[in-house]
């Protein structure tokens, strides 16, 4: 690395040097290159007054929650009805209480009466109702389409009426920041006004976001007065941290192995998972509405899918591919309250995988090292997005681990445009991970398979469908959890490895951050898909511990 950099700079030096010589050999030519003066860039050291964060996460289309702003991490400018605490348990924020009607169709939320927007206007139930109604009709990145209407019954009570019961609707109460009805319009996204802990000072698009503590915030005043978010690439974030200019920097695992003086590496567990999705049906010539083929004869065989699950050494993938910054994944919701612990398996067991294959009728008849069953060869293609080196390494390593048990996996990197039509008939390295259980529903419900990323493998099991529907219709998240767990594995059925093995989940990526030793960021949550912004979830509680 060092060598390469040296050589490159020598090259460029000679190019510039050449230029200078040439300029020098003539008449009255002025000097061209490097007229720049030495940098007097002020060393940015943090303090309780100001810290600099290089964690990416710019929202190009602005900071309007009704268009999806704040669905990860902290919405900064706005506050939400509910929030998830460090353990991802649901806690009140703007709301003081919420109840659900018997039929699960009406949610009644009472809110605190002392909240004001940063422009001084009080926040009332009418603003809450406006926010939800607006979000339901606007084509943004927050999905509130299940809402029939939101009505403010008095100043502090709002009724949210749904079209059908949906236990995961609570996630909208957690992520949707409340906007002021009187100040919401097309310009709002660039001039956000809200009741959150911070208010916008300046946004240089493509460069930085500067925010300051909101003096009108109803909660405890944030520990850091001013935050500067620098929007630079990961390499830039690392360079800024190393130069002491940034106090919180998100870095890829490949850079996390280095040391930075005065900074601690935070290795945050996440549900940002990667796994192999199997086409579940045999290829019968059926196609999606867009004409893409569905099904794969090899992966339609349960023995193959289970054998893959048991043969893969997930810990080796974590150590080898992720440099140890990760954890094995046995399902789509690792580390969350609705994970079924019994769904985990003893993997890295090629003998068990061979036994499963033999019992399933697979044998190596011609001695070429690849099993057959009748005319069918145990061979499939694993697709991964060519731009993602982590997924590439996972795919290649997994294929290596399958060779000894007689499964031939061919690994191919393609663009998403090429993968999309091929993903219903080939194994694909996908990555998901969310605090919203809707994702699990959409990954495994047979009705979700419509020729898109939802249940791309066309997994279908009516028992699982019923359980997922029960979870979705449950009156509260707490009661839904039992159903979510049952769907994963209940001892007899489930979509995880011991059941239908619809996927071979591989690993969860840890999200690595360098954080200044002087900064106390509390206990980070188990983070969703997306490295960077999620660490801001508790940003109002961060404190500066040095003088």
């Amino acid at each position: 690395m060092m060598n390469r950099r040296l050589r490159l700079s020598t090259l460029s030096f000679s190019a510039i040097f050449l230029g200078q010589v040439l300029v020098g050999c003539g008449s009255g030519q002025t000097e061209s290159a490097n007229v720049s003066e030495p940098a007097a860039s002020p060393a940015q050291t943090g303090s309780a007054e100001q810290i600099v964060l290089t964690i990416g996460g710019e929202s190009e289309d602005g900071y309007d929650p009704t268009l999806g702003w704040g669905r990860y991490g902290s919405p900064l400018f706005q506050s939400t009805l509910l929030k998830r605490d460090d353990n991802l348990d649901i806690a009140n924020d703007l709301a003081t209480a919420y109840t659900m009607s018997e039929d699960g169709l009406t949610w009644t939320v009472t809110i605190r009466d002392d909240a004001v927007f940063s422009d001084g206007e009080p926040l009332t139930a009418a603003d809450v109702a406006y926010t939800f109604n607006k979000a339901a009709e606007s084509g943004g990145l927050t999905d509130v389409t299940v809402l029939e209407e939101a009505v403010a019954t008095d100043d502090t009570t709002v009724e949210l009426r749904l079209k059908q019961p949906q236990s995961t609707f609570v996630n909208r109460l957690i992520t949707l920041g409340i906007v002021p009805e009187h100040a919401h319009g097309p310009d709002y996204a660039r001039n956000p006004i809200g009741s959150g802990p911070y208010q916008l000072v300046q946004w240089d698009e493509g460069q930085q976001l500067i925010v300051e503590a909101n003096p009108n915030y109803y909660g405890e005043a944030p520990g850091i007065k001013r935050l500067v978010f620098l929007f630079v690439e990961e390499d830039g974030a690392f360079a800024a941290a190393k130069a002491g200019q940034s106090q919180v920097a998100s870095v890829p695992p490949s850079l996390a192995v280095q040391n930075i003086d005065g900074m601690t590496l935070y290795d945050v567990t996440s549900v940002d998972n990667r796994g192999l999705m199997f086409p579940y049906e045999p290829a019968t010539g059926r196609t999606t509405p867009n004409g893409a083929p569905i099904g794969n004869d090899v992966t339609a065989d349960l023995a193959i899918r289970q054998a893959v699950n048991f043969a893969i050494d997930r810990q080796a993938l974590v150590d080898g591919v992720l440099e140890g910054y990760g954890s094995p994944a046995y399902g789509p919701v690792s580390g969350l309250a609705w994970e079924e612990p019994k769904a985990s398996i003893e993997d890295a067991d090629p003998d068990k995988a061979r036994a499963i294959l033999a019992a399933g009728g697979w044998a190596d008849g011609n001695g070429d090292g690849v099993l057959e069953k009748g005319d069918l060869k145990a061979e499939f293609t694993i697709l991964y997005p060519a731009s993602d080196s982590t997924r590439q390494a996972l795919a290649l390593s997994a294929a290596e681990m399958l060779k000894p048990i007689g499964i031939q996996a061919n690994v191919e990197g393609k663009s998403w445009d090429e993968i999309t039509p091929a993903m219903h008939s080939n194994v694909v390295v996908f990555g998901w991970g969310s605090h919203d259980q809707t994702e699990m529903y959409n990954l495994y419900h047979s009705q979700a398979a419509q020729g898109d990323f939802y249940n791309a493998g066309y997994y279908a099991n009516s028992a699982i469908d019923t359980t997922l529907d029960l979870a979705m219709g449950a009156p509260s998240e707490a009661e839904a959890i039992a159903f979510w767990q049952t769907a994963q594995w209940d001892g007899n059925t489930g979509f995880t490895a011991q059941g239908d093995a619809a996927w071979a989940w591989l690993v969860n990526l840890d999200h690595t951050y360098f954080v200044s030793d002087c900064l106390d960021i509390g206990q980070p949550q188990v983070e969703p898909h997306g490295h960077g912004w999620p660490i801001t979830a508790n940003i109002a509680e961060w404190t500066w511990t040095c003088n």
Binding site: Q50, D204, G236
Partner: protein, 331 residues
């Protein structure tokens, strides 16, 4: 000045401009609509599992993507005639506002690069042409050929590695120092962030102009009238001043204005490398996320920009060479 030829000239130019813009609009629109990137998909990105088909329809509806291409083109053209360029999908802002803010950031960089490459290119070209065959000429040619064949982004990376990473003389990114309010940014800080991208852009432009100028000067120096002048005892510098410059200034000017398009293209790459938030960076984002209104807007704007540049060159000819008259008018 004679009014009629100027009017005729202006009319002709405007007509051509109109046709050009129409062709550009049709091509961009059709090409982008055929692009495999689905703008809704690009917008949703990693949130695919949380967005239901109903919400997808809402998004498509908000942007009018549920309409067929012809209808969308008609709507867009109708709005354009009324002065409305549409709304950018990526930035959720009127296209003209995006272009205005982004172009302001790019303009200074483009202007510095344009002037530098023009002046240096001309100077180096004259030097090489006058001393053709000498070691100085060889060195300049080597330099020009090397840079002419070097990709812009590669040169940009080399400069970044040298001056920003190794020497720490220039900032690594952006157009302003971090954490400083817009009102507090000094002109020096501003120039400091501008200088490396601008120099990168100009370095690329120099090669082309140098080589052309050199060749033209050599042609002039081998002409009969120069031989005659030399025979009369005129020195080389005198010949260049009295005969050379006048003859090479026209092609140099043409090249200089024609290089506007290359400059514009180069800025896309340079801004990407230096994380400079100008129009070039916006172009990349618009293309990657299939933001048709913004991309068509930028293409439109750049066509106007380049066309204006070339027209300025046309207008400058009669001022420099009185033998040239607009619209082929003869006295």
């Amino acid at each position: 000045m004679q009014l009629r030829p100027i009017l005729l000239f202006a009319l002709q130019k405007l007509l051509r401009l109109g046709l050009l813009l129409l062709a550009v609009a049709v091509f961009t629109f059709v090409l982008l609509s055929l692009s495999p990137i689905d703008p809704v998909q690009a917008y949703i990105g990693a949130d695919m599992m949380q967005i239901s088909p109903e919400q997808r329809e809402l998004i498509a509806d908000r942007w009018g993507l549920d309409q067929p291409m012809i209808v969308r083109f008609g709507d867009w053209l109708g709005q354009l005639v009324q002065g409305n360029w549409g709304t950018s999908l990526v930035f959720n802002q009127p296209v003209e506002a995006v272009i205005a803010t982004r172009f302001q950031a790019s303009l200074q960089m483009l202007a510095i690069a344009w002037l530098l490459s023009g002046l240096l290119g001309l100077g180096l070209g004259i030097l090489a042409g006058a001393l053709a065959g000498s070691w100085c000429d060889r060195a300049i040619r080597l330099y020009a050929y090397t840079l002419a064949s070097a990709p812009t982004f590669w040169v940009a990376l080399l400069l970044l590695i040298t001056f920003s990473v190794s020497l720490r003389m220039t900032p690594i990114c952006c157009a302003a120092p971090p954490g400083v309010l817009a009102a507090d940014v000094t002109i020096w800080q501003h120039l400091h962030h501008l200088v490396l991208p601008a120099i990168t852009l100009s370095i690329i432009g120099i090669a082309n102009i140098t080589l052309h100028t050199r060749q033209k000067l050599i042609d002039v120096l081998h002409s009969d009238y120069v031989l005659f002048a030399r025979a009369q005892g005129e020195s080389l510098s005198g010949v260049i001043r009295h005969h050379g410059l006048r003859n090479i200034i026209l092609p140099a000017l043409t090249l200089q204005f024609a290089s506007l398009s290359e400059l514009f293209g180069g800025s896309v790459l340079v801004e990407q490398v230096f994380a400079y938030p100008g129009l070039g960076a916006a172009t990349v984002q618009a293309a990657l996320r299939s933001d048709v209104p913004l991309l068509v807007g930028i293409v439109f704007f750049s066509a106007l920009f380049v066309y204006t540049g070339n027209t300025l060159a046309d207008l400058a000819y009669p001022l420099i060479d009185p033998r040239i008259r607009l619209g082929g008018w003869r006295s």
